[in-house]
């Protein structure tokens, strides 16, 4: 038995190592000779972008934590008008790609957008540039990423024992105090997990920051590559993002501490009832977030689509849709399968520090800008080719470049964090006693996994899968560089049109993506509500 565990550890370790390949390729750029580009950046871009990256991370971090947690708490603990449909509607913004939300917001809220035109004409408020300063971009990120925290915190609140809150109430604690002293501390690990994903994604973002012309680390990465054609420096800079993420993960683990709440009891009893004006005020707040983050952008996309439908629509859309669909389904299946293997509870028992570290490494790809990851992968393949040629073999570049296989590999490396977060969270909730009793009953390992672990992990597997599916569908830079001929996706069409300033036409593929993302989120919600 021990031997099998040992062997399987090696296999899992190798798997994790393979997934982390792009990270290692990117990190190995430090072995290349330095260039004077670093000193140029140090004198020009770096000072500003370090401070603005920090401000962005802090702002977005506080924003998503507060908004996600408060919204989750309200829909779980408080009964207010419209609560039932808002509970699932708040998931929907996740279906809108961040870059789409950014161009809609700029179109609506910037100096030349309707809102400011109206403010100037009717209220005489002077116009302002929402792209200067930090608040507008922070707000955009918060509205697009809060569902991560909302999702996690909501699940956690649902599992909190109502008795604890009742006890708090009986002791005379005001609702705010119960929220702050009981609910939030208990939900801390979940909030931290959602926050981690948000911060990693913010760090790696290029679409939103370039529309706002805001400087973050990715600005320097793209400058090194795009302006100075230096892949080495781009990779060196990108590897710093990985280091930052590594620390973020460390702090998340720390925040989680030893907290493991083995509870799967869910109660649907509401702790508080908000009636009358109070209830409607809460409704207004939650509804406002929904409007701003989903309904309004969707409405704008619909208007644009209607304006240019006959011009833009063609049969090609069936191809875009098919490519997006096939890539999304196959990548999701693959990622979830691997994330499940990596997160099986038996792993924890035989956990070695090295294995844990390797698995952690395999999730770091989420912090790399997609484009850097894709080029890292090309260079990884190139290195394997060089080794193969050295030993008398031939290059494998032409077999792998532009193959679906390599693209799927990129998705696995990039989105493992999302799936693993989810599968491991559900795996951690399996009490060790299940494994022990299965062993006492003489069940084989395979049977234990099949009959006990997998069914118990299913909610996490499904949740992870649906989140990954939406993310893969929205993915742009890696798909753009690695896709095979004829595999243009909806996201690529959105990018090609919007990069030429043709937002109305870009709205059509964006609309299709949003609708499908929304359907995926609704399936997610359906499965989720069956769980409770």
């Amino acid at each position: 038995m021990k031997e099998i565990f040992f062997k399987s550890n090696i296999w899992v370790g190798a798997l994790a190592l393979a997934i982390a390949l792009p990270i290692f390729v990117v990190g190995s750029a430090w072995l290349l000779p330095g260039t004077d580009l670093w000193s140029h950046f140090a004198q020009t871009l770096l000072p500003e972008l370090v401070s603005s990256t920090i401000i962005l991370l802090i702002g977005v971090g506080i924003g998503v934590s507060v908004l996600g947690t408060v919204l989750a708490y309200l829909v779980v603990m408080v009964d207010f008008p419209g609560r039932a449909w808002l509970e699932w509607a708040l998931f929907l913004p996740f279906a809108i790609p961040a870059y789409v939300l950014a161009f809609v917001y700029l179109g609506v809220f910037d100096y030349s957008g309707y809102v400011q035109v109206w403010l100037r004409e009717y209220l005489g408020i002077p116009g302002f540039d929402i792209r200067s300063g930090h608040w507008a971009i922070i707000l955009t990120f918060v509205l697009v990423f809060y569902p991560y925290v909302y999702m996690m915190a909501r699940a956690s609140f649902k599992r909190q024992k109502i008795q604890m809150i009742e006890a708090g109430k009986m002791l005379g604690a005001k609702p705010l105090r119960v929220f702050w002293r009981i609910s939030v501390p208990l939900a801390r690990p979940a909030i931290a997990a959602g926050l981690l994903v948000t911060l990693m994604e913010t760090l790696a973002d290029f679409g939103v920051v370039s529309l706002f012309n805001y400087s973050t680390f990715t600005t320097a990465i793209y400058s090194a590559w795009g302006d100075f054609r230096s892949i080495e420096v781009a990779a060196q800079l990108a590897s710093l993002l990985v280091v930052v993420s590594f620390f973020l993960i460390y702090f998340e683990r720390k925040a989680r501490g030893k907290a493991k709440y083995y509870s799967s009891d869910v109660s649907n009893i509401k702790a508080y009832y908000a009636k009358g004006l109070k209830g409607w005020l809460i409704f207004l707040f939650v509804f406002g977030v929904f409007m701003l983050s989903f309904a309004m952008p969707l409405f704008q996309i619909l208007i644009w689509s209607a304006e240019v439908f006959t011009l833009e629509w063609s049969d090609r859309y069936f191809d875009y849709f098919a490519s997006s669909g096939i890539l999304t389904i196959s990548a999701t299946a693959l990622i979830v399968l691997i994330a499940t293997i990596l997160a099986l509870p038996s792993r924890r028992k035989s956990e070695s520090k090295t294995l844990q570290l390797l698995i952690r490494f395999s999730t770091l790809g989420y912090a790399l800008p997609g484009s850097v990851m894709a080029v890292g992968l090309l260079y990884g393949v190139q290195n394997i080719s060089l080794i193969s040629i050295y030993f008398g073999g031939s290059s494998i570049n032409h077999i792998l470049f532009g193959s679906v296989a390599l693209l799927l590999f990129a998705y696995v490396s990039r989105f493992m964090a999302i799936a693993y977060n989810s599968t491991s969270a559900s795996s951690e909730q399996i009490k060790p006693v299940y494994g022990q009793s299965a062993k006492l009953l003489g069940a084989s390992r395979l049977r234990l996994i099949q009959k006990v672990y997998l069914p118990m992990m299913m909610p996490g597997i499904i949740a992870g899968g649906l989140l990954v599916a939406v993310d893969v569908m929205k993915e742009l830079p890696a798909t753009y560089l690695l896709r095979p001929f004829g595999w243009d996706t909806l996201a690529i069409r959105v990018f090609e049109l919007s990069s030429e300033g043709l937002y109305e036409r870009a709205a059509i593929p964006a609309l299709i993506m949003v609708v499908f993302g929304a359907i995926i989120m609704l399936i997610f919600n359906k499965l989720d509500s069956e769980k409770y």
Binding site: Y111, S395, L454
Partner: protein
């Protein structure tokens, strides 16, 4: 459980297979394969026309210029690409330095496209001309106040200027041309003057620059003329107009979109044929009008809307220089805080 697992595995395997199959298809026969950073909606109608006339299929893969150059380099002799097409002289020049192009010097191309729009060694050929010039508000600016790119740095335009980001390759090539024409010292005065005159953070797109002018955030800006064409086609009454810069001096800065035959093309004759066809009057008429650009072939007229803007003197600087000086241009802009 088992069936789920099986279907997952078979799905994964079948996609792998499909990937390799499409790969093979792309490389086979008389077909021509093009890597292009010119967007799909601008090239697909052209290729369709070419296929109708010659029977030769054209496969294409769009991508960002830098990405595709990297991919071509790594694919080396095994690349499926016969042609690389991109939208900036700097990218074309850089691709030329990376041994991605072979030289093509056919008489047809030479007679169709003037020499300053081609690589001196015949590595690449410009296929459309993109003029970058001044755009102004007809409500707040009298065109007599306008003259050159450099003049936009003068204090007359304080808080009245909108520019596109320095990260965009069109800005880089324009600044490279200013360095070439006026020297680095004068260029740095111009850039810092521009930065000081900005009314807003530099915009991500040319279309944003014009929207800002229309909304009154600023009075003047710099755009590629086809973006103006897109705007005017949609809203003919928009209170903005083009002004031809540097007419008394070096002429309007022009850039090209262009293409070349790859070094390791498996179908070089087909690719050359396509390139010649793209330079022909017939293709040039479509090429330009699809995007309201100027034809590179000087024997044909521009699109109707485009010719209504009148003729102008072009800067005849050989466009390879834009490529050579681009890194200097970026360093200059980053030093002077042009975001």
């Amino acid at each position: 459980m088992n069936t789920i697992r099986l279907s997952v595995i078979s799905l994964a395997l079948s996609t792998l297979l499909m990937g390799s199959v499409t790969q093979i298809q792309a490389a086979s026969g008389d077909d021509i394969t093009v890597y292009s950073s010119r967007k799909e909606h601008l090239i697909q109608p052209l290729f369709e026309q070419f296929t109708n006339q010659t029977g030769i299929e054209v496969n294409y893969l769009t991508g960002s210029g830098g990405d595709l150059i990297e991919r071509l380099k790594l694919e080396g002799p095994n690349t499926p690409a016969d042609m690389f097409m991109t939208v900036d002289a700097g990218d074309l020049w850089y691709a030329g330095t990376q041994n991605i192009f072979q030289s093509v010097n056919t008489e047809t191309i030479k007679s169709n496209i003037p020499s300053y729009l081609r690589d001196p060694k015949g590595l690449w050929t410009g296929l459309s001309v993109r003029a970058r010039t001044i755009v102004y508000s007809t409500e707040r600016v009298n065109p007599s106040q306008l003259s050159t790119y450099s003049d936009l740095a003068s204090s007359n335009w304080n808080k009245k200027l909108c520019l596109r980001t320095s990260k965009k390759i069109y800005t880089k090539s324009l600044v490279a041309s200013i360095i070439h024409n006026q020297g680095e010292e004068k260029a740095s005065q111009v850039i810092s003057g521009w930065v000081g005159n900005l009314a807003a953070v530099p915009n991500a797109k040319d279309s944003h620059v014009m929207n800002a002018i229309i909304a009154g955030q600023c009075d003047v800006g710099l755009v590629n003329t086809y973006y103006y064409g897109q705007l005017i086609e949609k809203t003919p009454e928009a209170p903005v107009k083009l002004f031809w810069a540097n007419q008394e001096t070096t002429g309007v800065h022009v850039n090209v979109s262009g293409a070349g035959v790859t070094t390791h093309a498996s179908n070089p004759s087909g690719a050359t044929q396509l390139l010649e066809w793209l330079s022909s009057a017939e293709a040039q008429a479509i090429y330009g009008s699809l995007n309201k650009e100027y034809p590179a072939n000087q024997n044909i007229d521009s699109d109707k809307i485009v010719s209504s803007w009148g003729s102008f003197k072009q800067d005849k600087m050989n466009l390879s220089i834009a490529g050579i000086l681009q890194a200097d241009a970026v360093k200059l802009m980053q030093r002077l805080g042009y975001k």
